[in-house]
């Protein structure tokens, strides 16, 4: 399989990029929710 390095690079890049975007979004959302609940406890309902 002479194309294996290209396949690995393509799928690795996809994994890293999407993982970075997804984890970044979830961490940002979690941080915002914690901060909002610390300031305004009523926000827990949403």
């Amino acid at each position: 399989m002479t194309h294996l390095p290209y396949l690995l690079a393509a799928y690795g890049l996809a994994l890293v990029l999407t993982g970075w975007m997804a984890i970044g979004a979830w961490r940002r959302m979690g941080a915002a929710r914690r901060k909002l609940m610390a300031i305004d406890p009523r926000a827990e309902r949403s």
Binding site: H3, L7, A10, Y11, A14, L17, A25, M29, K35, A43
Partner: protein, 254 residues
């Protein structure tokens, strides 16, 4: 503060019902887990099918398996830009408060999809064409799309007054829509190394069924994944805006 809510066209009134931040947070909080889980499952099935079940191409060999991420990311790059343009239209015409934030949050995710499309295309092009890059009409128009995303990301954050940034970014996004048909039809309008579309709305697909189903799963999974990431970023942005407003109100009271 939205000062233009009374001046909106009649069609915008219904849209504003969904602009309530609390209502948005409740609704998006319910659908986000479903979006994320279905994106993971569908993409997982598609990637497994593309890597281990679909056959190698008789000409391209195993390099064809790159299409299972290249094509969905290309589809996403263009459709995300269309989403950005629609959000920009809502922002300019109806002053929809969530549309501004959506435009801010779609930009980086769309740029990442476009970067992935360009990089995986390059990784496919080297073994197939013998070159990482050629100044082909399709490749160049997608590169222009990437620069449009970068320009939008920069412009929308470039002003001290966020409203001016939203407006400038929206105008750029709407002007940039002209690039989408150029991308789509570039392989027909110019002599191109890039192959024409294998899947069209009007005709039967020219790709074998054994290769088509993993591609369909990946395309759907990528689309839902994009929706999940943008929704999570938008939820964060709405909460951050509420935090700023609350802190400002407290500072003014003190």
């Amino acid at each position: 503060m939205e000062i233009a809510s009374n001046a909106q066209p009649s069609g915008g009134r219904n849209l504003h019902r969904f602009a309530n931040p609390g209502q948005f947070l409740r609704l998006s909080g319910r659908i986000l887990p479903f979006l994320a889980v279905s994106a993971l499952v569908l993409t997982g099935i598609g990637v497994f099918g593309g890597l281990f079940m679909a056959p190698a191409d008789y000409q391209q060999g195993d390099a064809v398996r790159i299409i299972y991420i290249h094509v969905p990311s290309a589809w996403l790059a263009s459709s995300a830009y269309m989403g950005l343009a629609i959000a920009s239209l809502f922002s300019l015409v109806w002053r929809h408060p969530l549309a501004d934030l959506a435009a801010v949050e779609i930009g980086p995710v769309g740029a990442a999809a476009t970067a992935l499309c360009l990089a995986t295309g390059s990784l496919w092009g080297k073994p197939m064409w013998g070159a990482w890059w050629v100044w082909d009409a399709r490749l160049t128009s997608v590169l222009v799309l990437f620069f449009l995303y970068l320009g939008h990301i920069g412009l929308i954050r470039a002003f001290d007054d966020p409203q001016r940034g939203y407006r400038a970014g929206a105008i750029l996004a709407l002007v940039g829509v002209v690039n989408l048909p150029i991308i789509k039809f570039s392989v027909e309008w110019w002599n191109s190394l890039h192959q024409p579309a294998s899947i069209t709305l009007t005709g039967a697909p020219t790709i074998a069924g054994s290769m088509l189903w993993p591609l369909a799963f990946c395309a759907l999974g990528f689309t839902l994944g994009f929706a999940a990431i943008v929704t999570a970023r938008l939820r964060a942005a709405v909460m951050e805006r509420r935090i700023r407003a609350l802190l400002l109100a407290r500072a003014q009271e003190a």
